[in-house]
Amino acid sequence: MTMELTRRSLLKFMGGAVAGAVLSPLPWKLLDDASIWTQNSSLIARAPRGPVTWRDTTCTLCPVGCGLRARLVGEAFVSAWSRPSHPDAGAACPLGFALAQMRYHPARVRGACARDARSAAARWRMVDADATVAEIGRTLADLRAAGRLDQMAVLDLRPDRALSLRYREFLQRQGGGRYLVAPDAWQASAAAFTALAGSSLLAPAPAPSRARAVLAFGTPLADDPRGLALAPRDGSSGRPYHIQVDATATPTAARADRWLPARPGSELPLALAIAHVLVRDELSGDARALAAGAGGPEGSFAELVADFAPERVADACGLAPSDIRATAHELATHRPALVLGVGDPGAGPLGAEEETAIWCLSVLLGGPGAGAPLALRPSATALFGEPEAAATALSEVPDGSLELLLVDGSFPGAPLSPALLRRKLRGPDARIVALSPYAGGAAGAGADLLLPTPAPGEWLDDVPPPALAPVSSYAWSPVVAAAPDWAVHAADWLARLEAASGLQPDSADGSSAHRAGLERRAAALMAAGSGEVHDPRDGSTRPLTSLAGPEELVTVLDCGGAWSAPALATPAIALQLPGHRSALALRWRALAAGRAEALAAAGRPLVLLPGGGLATTGGGVAAPVLAKLGRESELLPDTRTAAVSPRTARQLGLRAGTRAELATAAGTRHVDVVHDASLPPGVVRVATGPDPLDLGEAPRADAATGRDLDVPSLCGAADRPVWRLAGATLKEVRRARD
């Protein structure tokens, strides 16, 4: 028998082999291997490997200072989580959960940088750090030699820290210079109370849990990390009756027992009208407290509010007089009541006059005093026994008066107008130097030179009690990940600048001096001996006096612990209205009608309301993961979206998604229109930031041409300290081809 290989038999064999292979596990094995290969593709990022450890720290992305637990894999800082055993009961916000990503933010600089900030399209370029320090040092030396140190200033975006003392010492050693602050809405509210109390040693400590009613003038009690810190938690004794004054239907307003949809900018007349009813109908027994101290022949507080009958201010407030009267009577029924100001923190301070009127209303309804909802606590100065020193508000510095401005960038979220900073400079050679990790945010946005500092989580800072905190508190933010070589502690930059300016620094190691300052504060707390300490090593909270000494308190703080003390059991104090009463009455009368009149005079049909993004304070850099909130949800409005009510949109002929030009007296900005039924007619709302869509990519076309103003500048933040409203127009423009 012969085996003859024919073409047909060969094809049969090959066909059989292929069919057999298909039915065998081979193709499935190949598919499986291919899918495994795709999982190990070089395009897929590799997670760090190593032992998992945890370190307790404190969030420094906003002044609240929530306790955080950092998860490390090997030496990589992977994520941060809240700490239920911390005195804040495990509160944290999206900013805190994204803390680990702030180290790798695309806007982070990797060395000293420079640019010509006068051009909006200018890009940062790397420069030699030593040469930059030498250049700034020469400017300092020249100013000192010429006796022009008043042309040098430090802007501290987060005052009351130990580092703030280092800034002041830096100025003292130079022989002069101005220490500037740019108070945010919370700090401005607290400052108004301090002025009313007449003592910088006392700070307001509002405690809603002790109130039977809360009247909040825009205070974001439900949708801002600092508001959450104030809001009574479940389990606290009884939820107070909550009345929210908000121009728009915010989440806080939706959760209030009663919402007063007042007209934008009408906080002052509304507060005074409620006070008017309380006094007129003799619903408050505390009017005498306000009369004390500032009295004289000019009359009482009752006379100050006499002109603000609900019938007179109802139109300005956009409310019926009966609503205002009913609110006053409701608050009187629910005494003691707490009245809070602040407004939307993303839109800058509410205004000193508004805050003063609101605090006066709070005094009429139940405080301050022992057990009252409006209690007092020592200010940071008093808490640590440090010398009182004056700070100048940035808005009070004359335009064109500064040759050199150092900006502390350790609070990346402060809402600040770069245009305001630029206006303070003297001439073309004047410089803004930012000590910041980011080429953006509050500090970096307007700067010419940037000296890189460690990112949050990479350096030891302290967290004094935030403005309007119900209790005194103090914590440190222990380092959870090492800073890269090119990131230098701000205190070390100060030491190098001192040396470069020809001075002999106290210590060449500025960070060690900073550490010593922190330890002095711990020792001061220990010496005072009050309050209690949360020790994360065993999760316990015990009296401060149970610690062996300041060294143990330092150890606890180094482990992410926190000190806290209840508000002072202070009896009622006499509050003093600032300035001359007749002048105050005139200012109140002018402003009560003035905000709306100013808008009308602007001749623009819309009111522009700036606002903070949800759970942010505006103006800073957002962690990349927060882009999910901006791009994939409606939770975090970006700065290039203008919201108008459907009714207004119909009137203006603006469909959702339309590209439009938003114009105010200050300039223009290109935006995409969205419809938002939570807004009143005639209002356009734009977030001040942070921009969740800006991850450090190339500037958009509009920004590169310099035609787009940042939102605070668009609202006039460069011209006036209160920039919560602006007259505006919104017109469709042809969408540029990308």
């Binding site: 395009l43 180290r103 990349p624």
Partner: protein, 263 residues
């Protein structure tokens, strides 16, 4: 096909919509925990991966009668999950010991039938290679593998955390079949305590109690998918949206108190 045996755990979640303020902490915590990549800036908004998506809706009224409502929607972990039935490559499985519907990326061939079948729109597709800004891979969670382009993914009740809890239980010498307690990232992150998680088969657990709450309802309950996520709201309009008009949480329309579509 997937007969439910009355053994093991049935991990379940309850979300109190009356407490949710739409802060987004759950979304951020979920993305951080599960290595969810941010899509490229030029990508369309619906190309995102949002295992926990917080949708904003309202009562359909314009200011001043307007009231915003936030509805967080993770995978509902259905007991009778449509996505399981339609998957041609068994890349979706119901874990009988936990009740968690798992997604196996290595098996997924990217047909997206599961996305079409999911009535809750809680499934997402990797349209892009998962990339992070330079250096950000250092913040990836090693317990959760990043997924590749071309596969579907969804919430799995933080299975990486469940695995860690099981490892701890094993290290402590506890029985392998013991129901371990853990919390997903969104539960840990919620600053309002709006999200509760636990074993719904344990009658003493808060989950079991919340399921009996008169405010409780489940999304599109009439479909019979058996979601393991329970929602709580005292607002009848919100309950009506959840029970029958989930399309309204997508932004185009909203529901009024009487159930009619708003503007």
């Amino acid at each position: 096909m997937h007969a439910t045996e009355n053994t093991g755990a049935r991990y379940a979640m309850a979300i109190d919509l009356d407490k949710c303020t739409g802060c987004g902490a759950c979304m951020v915590a979920c993305a951080v925990e599960n290595n969810v990549a941010v899509p490229p800036p030029a990508a369309a908004a619906n190309r995102g991966l949002t295992w926990m998506a917080v949708h904003r809706t309202d009562n359909g009224q314009e200011w001043p009668a307007h009231r915003p409502v936030f509805i967080p929607i993770p995978c509902q972990q259905c007991e009778h999950a449509p996505c399981i039935h339609v998957c041609p490559v068994t890349a979706v499985q119901l874990d009988e010991s936990t009740g968690i519907v798992g997604q196996v990326p290595a098996r997924c061939m990217g047909c997206r039938y599961c996305m079409a079948a999911c009535p809750y729109h809680a499934r997402y597709f990797n349209y892009f290679d998962p990339t992070w800004p330079e250096g950000l891979e250092e913040t990836l969670n090693p317990d959760v593998a990043p997924r590749m382009r071309g596969v579907a993914e969804k919430c799995n009740f933080c299975h990486g955390r469940l695995d860690r809890a099981r490892e701890r239980a094993a290290a402590e010498g506890r029985p392998a079949d013991e129901v371990v307690a853990y919390v997903p990232a969104c539960v840990e992150a919620c600053p309002h305590g709006a999200i509760t998680f636990g074993d719904s088969r344990d009658p003493a657990s808060p989950m079991a109690q919340l399921a009996r709450d008169p405010r409780a309802f489940r999304l599109l309950e009439a479909l019979g998918t058996g979601p393991k996520v329970t929602y709580l709201s005292a607002d009848p309009a919100v309950r009506r949206v959840g029970l029958s008009r989930l399309d309204m949480v997508r932004g185009a329309t909203a529901v009024t108190a009487d159930g009619a579509e708003g503007a």
